[in-house]
């Protein structure tokens, strides 16, 4: 059996193609959303370059190393999370950063990968589907870092990491009875959790149900973004012609709300193209997971892929008013660096799963 060049470089060409196309779209949209500022494009290009480099590096590491590292990565991440709560930097009212002098570092980001990795590692040593006891242990392994992150407070990231861990559990074959038991438990605990939310977080959820209630505060974002999207119509107003964004009505238009800029300028057709591209990447990720050779790879690969989809869905859902406002960027399109690197690291792992295959005896 011969290895192709891409196989030797440990690159999955379809995945790489999809990601590159998305990055290209990111430049186009950012140029418009950022008020045609070249500096933004240059900065985003540098970030993407770095993120792709990280992806490439991750792809070179065989999966069995990840398997070996999982508990250490997870343990280290936990220590850093606790450190953040104790000595972390406060920016925008939340304590999320660790300052190492030159580098500022957000431990919650590593947990986006470390948590599903840990759960996949744990479950891969057990007989699947997992029994009640193993499910409870896995649940605790998810709950501890999620709780720490929620306390920072970064509810959005906490929920995303929780879902990444839960996906592993679900995909491992957790029985329907266990799933429904967990759902009931959650329904009972929901009022208690509501009590622990910050006032502004409750406000966001309430505003979601009735944005017109608070048109000057939190509802403003949603009202303005639905106006932008709705006025885009079938074909859009054309590139650089989005009035909502140009007249300063859209908040956070290069970051969380960039989807509104895109839909205003490129219309429903443009959005469908973007969705198709995202779906293609998700499909490729699931394909890689389905063809993986061991349980750990399968669980990790599929969980990372599903989490990627959740990012896309939560962001678009928020901007279109289907979901409450949570600060989740649109993967690969939004301006900003931290989450980009984590995202591409995940794709690197997927590529590693696909390209470090054991030769099967013929």
């Amino acid at each position: 059996m011969r290895w192709s060049i891409s196989q030797r470089l440990h690159i999955d060409l379809p995945l790489l193609g999809g990601l590159l196309l998305l990055s290209l779209m990111s430049f186009v949209i950012l140029y418009s959303a950022g008020g045609q500022d070249n500096a933004i494009i240059v900065r985003q290009a540098l970030r993407l370059l770095m993120a792709f480099a990280v992806m490439f590096a991750m792809a070179q590491i065989p999966v069995r190393y990840f398997l070996g590292w999982a508990p250490w990565l997870f343990g280290g991440g936990l220590v850093l999370l606790i450190a953040v709560l104790l000595v972390g930097d406060i920016s925008k009212g939340a304590q999320r950063w660790l300052d190492f002098g030159l580098v500022r570092f957000q431990p919650a980001e590593t947990m986006k990968i470390a948590v599903p990795m840990m759960i996949a590692w744990y479950l891969s040593t057990k007989r699947l589907p997992p029994n009640v006891w193993h499910t409870v242990i896995a649940g605790l392994l998810i709950a501890v870092p999620v709780g720490l992150i929620a306390k920072q407070p970064d509810l959005g990231t906490a929920l995303l990491i929780a879902s990444a861990g839960v996906f592993v559990l679900l995909l491992s074959g957790m029985s329907a009875r266990l799933i429904s038991a967990c759902l009931i438990l959650f329904a009972v605990a929901a009022p208690v959790l509501w009590h622990f939310l910050h006032a502004y977080q409750r406000q966001r959820v309430l505003t979601f149900f009735n944005p017109a209630n608070d048109p000057l505060g939190a509802g403003y974002h949603i009202i303005q973004s639905t106006i932008a999207i709705g006025s885009g119509g079938m074909y859009g107003k054309g590139w650089l012609n989005g009035t909502q964004s140009y007249l300063d009505f859209l908040p956070e238009r290069t970051t969380d709300f960039i989807f509104a800029v895109y839909s205003e300028e490129f219309g429903l057709i443009g959005v469908l193209v973007l969705l198709a591209l995202y779906l293609f990447i998700v499909a490729r990720g699931l394909y890689i997971a389905l063809n993986a050779q061991d349980t750990f790879s399968r669980l990790l690969g599929s969980s990372l892929t599903l989490t990627f989809f959740v990012y896309v869905f939560v962001n678009i859902g928020m901007v279109t008013g289907l979901l409450p406002v949570v600060g989740v960027p649109l993967p690969l399109i939004s301006y900003g660096g931290t989450s980009l690197v984590t995202l591409m690291a995940a794709f690197g792992i997927l590529m590693s799963i696909q390209t470090h295959r054991n030769r099967l005896p013929t």
């Binding site: 000057l216 119509g233 009505f249």
Partner: protein
């Protein structure tokens, strides 16, 4: 090939695992497709079905949400005299985004309208801390002529407009300023404390007194309108409108007539007067002199005027009634006396001999009485009536500092009175424990003695004195002092009265003890030897009271005190507490005149004037006796 993976996998049901995983992935794909369909459905709903609606909203015309600030509640005194009102005012506002050349615009405006450099300085400052897309005010209180002059030239100034608003105005100026307070512009440091949404469009907030403490009630709820504007920012039409809810009007317990009388009586003196309704805790007058005119503060007082106020040695900005800390002097004697009776440290029958001084056993130091020749044989009644110091030195020694501390605490000394306006101080009710904690020093026996006559460490605010007097007259039932009488929804006539709040009552050991002390206080005014006998002349009701003189600095042993020689600022503070009528107490008054020398001659007449006025205006309070 990794041996670890295969070894482990051998004992697993490989086929079943892959199959289950495959099934789960299929379910996931199905869910993904459903969610994507939901997004697409939502997008079709927004972009296809509602495209026309959203296009009108965004096309060419900008839709903006404009906050309509609620009108602030008015403040009245107890008789409905207006203390704080809202007057229409015109101000010149600039929306910076719509001005091409700000400097040129400012220069051109300056030729048209009188704009001072200080206005421009303030404008630039506010420009930096701008919130939302509202205009930034350049000048306040435009005259009608200026408004007209600008209206003619308006086309020359895109982005500049005259804004009509309501400005707070205090028609009585400095009168009752320390109770009413004032509003000022919301500054950057205020923002974190405010509900950003509700204060969108609100420019002012309460900065002192009732205006500050009742900010929530006075402010009301913001309204908003969706406005269509053209590219110059001019409003074209209102699409929808939600009206604001106006703030509640406030009625104060304060009687402006009494307040004016109190402030007038203090005159050029520094000092404070607090008058309280004994039964309700309603504050009838809360005077702190000197005061200041709150009106310049509304739109930002000029810094030179502000410095004048804040650097004045008379400290007009300082609310003496709530924050002034004074030694209570002899006004504390009725309370200590009651404490002695109730805690069984003295008996009524026992007399103490006063030779004019007191010595601690084995010590040479003489604690002097104010009367060098002494009062002779003194019982509690005589000790209060003639304000004998030696009697209270003896009693203080018997009670001990902690005994006095514990008893005085019940009257609210050393703790905040919980009045409904912010900023009051707690004063100081000393104890051994306090001195150890605060000073890291042991308590000395001599300090117990002077504590018994209201000197030493003890510090009270005029408000505390009034509350304590009211509590004494009310036989132990303490009321929470309240400046606000009630609130009124401006759309309705009815006033919602705030219920008087009873605080913890002082347990009475023997009612006769209270009778004796209250009687002694009456005899301070109504007996020929009483220290305040002068104010009984001509009163057709009975007043009870106690004079006090608080030393500002201590006098050396054997030195003679002469007020004429002492610099004015070093003269004693004059104090007087009173309540009336004696038979069924309704009003309590505390008067402090800084450096006023003698309580009886300076402070007591002020209390008499207030009481006269009160019973002249509210004769029912007297007839209820019969």
């Amino acid at each position: 090939m990794d041996p670890r993976i295969t070894e482990r996998d051998q004992i697993r049901d490989h086929m079943r695992e892959t199959q289950v995983f495959g099934n789960r992935v299929r379910v996931a794909v199905l869910l993904i497709l459903l969610l994507v369909l939901a997004i697409i459905a939502r997008l079709i709903f927004l972009q296809i079905f509602n495209n026309v609606h959203f296009t009108t909203l965004s096309q060419n015309n900008r839709i903006s949400v404009v906050a309509i600030p609620p009108s602030r509640g008015l403040i009245y005194d107890r008789n409905g005299v207006l203390l704080a009102q809202n007057l229409p005012s015109f101000s010149l506002e600039i929306v910076p985004e719509q001005v091409e050349n700000l400097n040129a615009t400012l220069a051109a405006l300056k030729e048209l309208i009188d704009i001072k450099d200080s206005d421009i300085k303030r404008f630039r400052r506010m420009l930096k801390q701008k919130r939302m897309t509202n205009g930034v005010p350049l000048r306040f209180r435009l005259s009608e002529e200026e408004v007209a002059r600008f209206a003619v030239n308006r086309p020359r100034f895109p982005g500049v407009d005259v804004a009509v608003g309501l400005a707070r105005h205090y028609p009585f100026g400095s009168l009752a300023v320390h109770a009413v307070g004032y509003v000022g512009r919301i500054s950057e440091s205020d923002l974190p404390k405010l509900d950003a949404s509700n204060y969108n469009g609100t420019t002012h907030m309460g900065k002192g007194g009732v205006e500050k403490s009742y900010e929530k009630v006075l402010h009301g709820a913001v309204g908003f309108e969706h406005v269509e504007t053209n590219s110059q920012g001019r409003r074209l039409r209102v699409l929808s409108k939600t009206l604001p809810t106006a703030g509640q009007n406030l009625y104060l317990n304060i009687d402006l007539k009494l307040q004016a009388l109190a402030e007038g009586a203090l005159g050029v003196n520094r000092g404070a007067v607090v008058a309280m309704d004994i039964k309700t805790g309603g504050v009838l007058a809360l005077a702190s002199m000197p005061g200041y005119d709150p009106n310049p503060f509304v739109n930002g007082i000029e810094s030179k005027d502000y410095n004048l106020l804040s650097n004045s040695p008379d400290q007009p900005l300082y609310n003496r009634a709530l924050r002034g800390l004074y030694p209570p002097g002899s006004t504390i004697k009725p309370f200590i006396g009651l404490g002695g009776l109730e805690t069984n440290r003295i008996s009524v029958e026992k007399n103490t001999f006063c030779p004019g001084f007191f010595r601690l056993p084995g010590k040479a130091h003489k604690y002097r009485d104010w009367k060098p020749t002494g009062h002779g044989s003194v019982d509690l009644d005589k000790a209060i009536v003639e304000s004998c110091d030696v009697y209270f030195y003896t009693l203080a020694q018997a009670m001990g500092v902690d005994g006095m501390h514990d008893f005085m605490t019940q009257f609210g000394f050393g703790s905040k009175s919980q009045i409904d306006i912010k900023g009051e101080l707690a004063g100081l009710n000393p104890s051994r424990e306090w001195k150890r904690r605060a000073r890291s020093q042991p308590w000395y026996p001599g300090e117990t003695l002077i504590t018994g006559i209201g000197q030493g460490y003890t510090l009270v605010t005029p408000l505390q004195l009034a509350v304590a007097t009211a509590t004494l007259a009310n036989r132990g039932q303490r009321m929470q002092p309240h400046v606000v009488y009630g609130t009124q929804n401006p759309a309705e006539q009815t006033i919602v009265v705030q219920r008087p709040l009873s605080l913890k009552a002082i347990p009475i050991v023997k009612p006769e003890n209270w009778d004796r002390v209250l009687t002694a206080m009456s005899r301070v005014v109504n007996s020929p030897r009483g220290t305040a006998r002068a104010i009984a002349v001509g009163a057709d009701y009975l007043i009870a009271g106690k004079t006090g003189t608080a030393q500002v600095f201590s006098i050396k042993q054997n030195a003679k005190y002469s007020s004429a020689k002492t610099a004015e600022r070093l003269r004693d503070h004059a104090l007087f507490i009173a309540f009336a009528p004696v038979e069924q107490p309704r009003v309590a008054v505390a008067v402090i005149v800084e450096n006023g020398d003698h309580g009886a001659t300076v402070a007591a007449p002020i209390a008499r004037m207030l009481l006269d006025q009160y019973f002249a205006d509210y004769p029912l309070m007297l007839t209820a006796l019969q």
